[in-house]
Symmetry: C2
Subunit: 700 residues, 2 copies
């Protein structure tokens, strides 16, 4: 559904308009008038005839027609009645600024539900309650009490915090930053971040989407929508607060490694969302995305009039994994010819402390033509000879004339460069208060470009035995058993093409020795009990047993010792299993996030996983590229490739294991968490084996 009438109404009614300065109903009305709104404004107030020269209406009905947009500022208890009136006269778009709903507890929650019910039934869309309102500068619409109308621009902003929006508006109005739309989404009773991102996505005025969120209502839909829209328009988000999902689930390795931020990180990286750590950083990023072309690569050339800031920029470029551009011989020759002998003609290009604007111009014009340069960063410190204003004009001109490469400025100082900074901002050159902040912004743009150029997502579907898994899971859920035992966990894995070691359960020492004889030595033995999750913690795992005597000894020792440690555990026997040796141990896992679904994990395996925390996460379902990228994102990856003369392992086989697991947890939402640890992988062509696995299920 389009939100068009919110942003471009022909008529606006303000229910609760007030003539008393300081009241919100007065602020909104006067903001509407001051902004120069071209449509009709209907103040609704039954206690006075006119406010600020506008005729007042005692109620909505008396207006005689349905306004395109109604703003409600009456006390919370009266809001449902006003909503009923809106329904009656067929209003379709309402902003409820009034607070005192969900945010104040149960009673408010009930009131909010009532409002939503009325709206749903009547087909009314609602922004709020408990919000600041919205602003659309091009339509001169300021339906808010957040502050004065900002400049027109290309940034669409949504905020879950009204107070932060007020601060943002103040900053924007002070520095002349423009917006296409600003919306305070308040309690998100109806319209939420999903609706607004979709609306901004379709909006021709909006080229950059930015926002502040504390929660995400519908995780999966949000991710899919953001992924689609990021392809066209960058989405820059500040996200505070945490999911709390990590704390909940901790019975698996994977669960204990999921942090409160893991899911968001995974979602943001999947959806190409540019995460901002503060409002300041968001503005830093937004001004670049709003004004500059996307860079074709990651090679940065720096032009400076002083060595110090040049070094600082070079350090930052290296630290953030960008490339310090190697200038072509032609560029170096040109610069040598044109700049004074003492100038540094290599990157960072130092035009020297006495450089005037002309020298900057020569350098910029030359470097911008260099095919080895993707991005230009111009630094200036206000020295005795420096003409910062003329230099700003040169930078602005270069930026306008050569539209294909992004240009960034970092003029350092304050009063001495303030006029220059105004010129830069006014001409759409992003200006940063430090070289580091410029480089961080460049990094954000380069990352976004890389994301846009990622290969198309194709999730492979493997032929599997789905019926088998269904049977096992249903049996567990019927009996209300959450943890699937090791034997059946492995049956589930086998059904999805993940190979597990051969083995059988023994109930006597002699039987154990006989099974081992059939499997061939060495063997592994594991205590077999539904009540023992961490077998090695109680001495329930023995590896490398070489003969029948060792097997029988191990059996008897477990039977003697473990019941003492865990008297209540139901011990069913001991699993005697072939030993998988000579490979590397990794872990594959999944933890289901309540908002975003299955989070896949990969990392170094064994008992070290929780110590080293060398793991990576990604959302299922995985493509082959994503599965492989999960491997690459760990330090373990280098080890898997083979170090110090060791042979590497079959990387693609691990990636396939991850994809198969991804398919399993996607097809069975009942699986809440699971891990395979260790997953023993060998050289290319050798089938990896899931030596141990843990699966827990829940009704959905």
């Amino acid at each position: 559904m389009s939100l068009e009438k919110f942003f471009d109404p022909a008529s606006v009614a303000i229910v609760g308009a007030s003539q008393n300065a300081g009241k919100v109903g007065y602020e909104v009305l006067t903001n509407m008038i001051a902004a120069g709104f071209k449509g009709k404004i209907y103040p609704v107030n039954n206690k006075t005839e006119t406010i600020e020269g506008l005729k007042c209406y005692p109620d909505l009905e008396s207006i005689g027609q349905a306004p395109d947009l109604v703003i409600i500022i009456v006390p919370a208890k009266i809001v449902p009645a006003i909503m009923q009136q809106c329904a009656k006269i067929k209003v379709k778009s309402v902003i409820i600024i009034t607070a005192g709903f969900k945010e104040v507890g149960q009673e408010g929650q009930k009131l909010e539900q009532e409002v939503v019910q009325i709206a749903r039934r009547a087909g009314i869309r609602v922004i709020g309650p408990n919000c600041l309102g919205l602003i659309a500068p091009k339509k001169r619409l300021n339906a808010s009490f957040g502050g004065g109308l900002p400049k027109e621009g290309v940034i669409g902003y949504l905020s879950q915090s009204g107070a932060l929006l007020a601060a943002i508006l103040d900053i924007a109005n002070t520095y002349g930053i423009g917006f296409s739309k600003l919306v305070s989404i308040g309690n998100k009773a109806d319209i939420d971040e999903l609706d607004l991102i979709e609306s901004f996505g379709q909006d021709d005025e909006t080229r950059v989407i930015a926002g502040y969120l504390e929660s995400i209502t519908n995780g999966n839909d949000f991710m899919r929508l953001a992924e689609r829209i990021s392809q066209d328009k960058p989405i820059l988000l500040m996200k505070s607060g945490s999911t709390g999902a990590g704390a909940k689930a901790a019975s698996s390795h994977t669960g204990s490694l999921v942090g409160s931020e893991t899911a968001y990180e995974a979602v943001f990286s999947r959806a190409g969302i540019v995460r901002c750590s503060s409002i300041k950083r968001q503005f830093d990023f937004a001004q670049a995305f709003a004004s500059q072309p996307l860079p074709a690569g990651d090679r940065v050339a720096v032009i400076t009039n002083a060595g110090g800031p040049g070094i600082v920029a070079a350090d930052a470029i290296e630290q953030h994994g960008l490339v310090f551009a190697a200038l072509t011989d032609e560029t170096i020759k040109k610069l040598t010819r044109m700049l004074p002998p003492a100038a540094n003609v290599n990157n960072p290009i130092d035009v020297l402390g006495d450089a005037l604007a002309d020298r900057y111009k020569l350098a910029i014009d030359t470097v911008i033509e260099d095919p080895n340069v993707d991005i230009i960063l111009v630094l200036l410190t206000p020295q005795a000879m420096t003409d910062s204003v003329a230099t700003a004009e040169v930078v602005a001109k270069a930026c306008q004339e050569r539209g294909n490469k992004p240009v960034f400025a970092s003029f350092l100082g304050a009063a001495k460069i303030s006029r220059a900074v105004e010129i830069l901002r006014g001409s759409g050159v992003p200006q940063y208060d430090s070289p580091e902040n410029a480089v961080l912004t460049i990094k954000a743009m380069v990352d976004y470009v890389r994301w846009r150029q990622r290969p198309k997502r194709v999730v492979k579907l493997f032929p599997v035995n789905r019926r088998k898994v269904e049977t096992i899971i249903e049996k567990h859920l019927r009996q209300d058993i959450r943890e699937v035992g090791e034997m059946e966990s492995k049956e589930i894995l086998e059904a999805y093409g993940i190979v597990t070691p051969k083995g059988t359960i023994a109930t006597t020492a002699e039987q154990a020795a006989s099974i081992a004889g059939q499997l061939g030595y060495p063997v592994v033995m594991k205590i077999w009990s539904p009540d023992i999750l961490h077998k090695s913690d109680v001495g329930g795992v023995k590896v490398g047993l070489r003969n029948s005597q060792e097997v029988m000894d191990a059996f008897d020792l477990m039977m003697y010792r473990i019941p003492k440690k865990m008297p209540d555990a139901d011990i069913l026997g001991v699993l005697v299993q072939e030993m998988c040796s000579g490979g590397k141990e990794v872990i594959l896992g999944m933890n289901r996030d309540p908002h975003f679904g299955p989070l896949m994990m990969f990392g170094m395996g064994g008992t070290m996983v929780e110590v080293l925390k060398d793991v990576s996460f990604y959302l299922a379902p995985l493509t082959a590229e994503e599965a492989k990228q999960m491997l690459i994102n760990t330090r373990t990856y280098k080890m898997l490739q083979g170090v110090r003369g060791e042979q590497g392992v079959d990387i693609d086989a691990i990636a396939e294991g991850l994809q198969r697991l991804s398919q399993l947890v996607t097809e069975f939402p009942q699986i809440q968490e699971m891990d395979i640890n260790p997953y023993v992988v060998g050289a290319e062509g050798k089938t990896p084996i899931a030596v141990d696995a843990r699966i827990s299920v829940e009704k959905v």
Copy 2:
């Protein structure tokens, strides 16, 4: 030596003073006059009678007495002659602003040496050349061309980049930030960071030392001095550029893991230096250190008029490892009584969007008395009802009246809070443009306090066989052999009380079997060659050999295969060694930094060390606490304590190994780099064994 005459001269001569605006000689003179300097100013210029109303002198001698301070601004070539004149009339303090020395190449370098020689001989101290000059606001001394005189304050600033200092001065003068002294150190021909930090350390006017450095001239002295001075006054440094030491040495594991920043990180953490990543951050930190008492602990209380920024602050507090203060019942009761019912009386305390200054005052006054609170952070967003100016006054008053707890402010916005921000700044309340930046500053202060409270450093000296090591090292150096072989490396370790495995070199398969028989199976075999550094890379290591047949096979295979892979290697035999199993493998190492001396390393051992990079560094000599802290700083530490039912290892024994190694490399500066990998450690009471070691030496 005191630099007193630089900062408080009774008379200043300006050699090269000029009457032409735009010239540096004019800028310096007019800056001197404009600042209102109370002493005598002697312009030296033989082409004119007066400049700006001051009588000119044709040369220094004609002044008739030695000025306390001489500023030189003549062309570089003439500078030695002026220095000679200074020597003649017994000038003791000179600032050479002129550029064209070391920074322009060999010729300039020679000129600079000449200047230094004259200075040394005559006992003249020199700041510069190639600098901006110096400023001492309290004495109204502006001997620079950097900008106008800043306010008096408590920050002493030194900068290796004149241009950055000019930018800093501009920012400081715009926002009213005060300084005790500012010095541009230029090429540091004589006076360097060491002199200035020492001088600022003794200076009563200076309470906070800050600076920007690109290089550190005398690493070891710098560290010792900074460590001593940090105990009294915080040192806030921006450091750009890298040592390049890491790249040089890469033949050992340790060498390959030393980054260009490792040594600086180690030095800064040892010396308690607060590192700043940008000028902006340095100002953020400096204003807090300059105006606030040090916090007694790390418990932060947040007071806000909006939920959003409160959450942002809470996230940052958690992320940076600070504690979100748990308010006492008494505080909560008081707040409940005094604040409106909708207010949140738990941390973060939300005084609500309509809060005026009085409500902030109630909250601050209550929280500041809470014994569970060490630090107070006050947030404000400019909402419709907000009175930011009155609130700023309340915060400033609270800050002044209760001097024992630090108070921080983050008022968000721009024009709407600009007057409030002026009030905060003017009253010495540190104000931040985002809650994150406030929290980062709090973190820097808390870390500094923790550093100040560290235990006294006591380095234990073990009884060792120093003579033995001397002999081995001298032999190598005489023969010009840099890599000490494994056998002699182990002799060195044994001489310092580090135990190595028993073993002997075999030159035939039969001899190998016989040695193995004496040691007892299983054994390890290693190819023995001075030319093979990474034995496992060429298949030169076999472990777990269980009988004489396996030993003879291994011997013959090495002899057959390795010469094919490395035809030029001189193979001396195969080392047959007892096998150390059942322990954990760690690495102990050292890489000698050219500026700061021996950098000790600890980490997880084996072939994985370079993959996992789970290592920590610290400067030798190590105390017992520092050695143990090195262990704690790795993720490996948890593994060493024992995970999943495994027994832990002897932590103190590893720490002792590190201390012994630290003693070795401290007593033998010839040792350039070394590592013990693996160092196999077992349960408490079991002696760790250095299974493999590599030492390289150099003449010093």
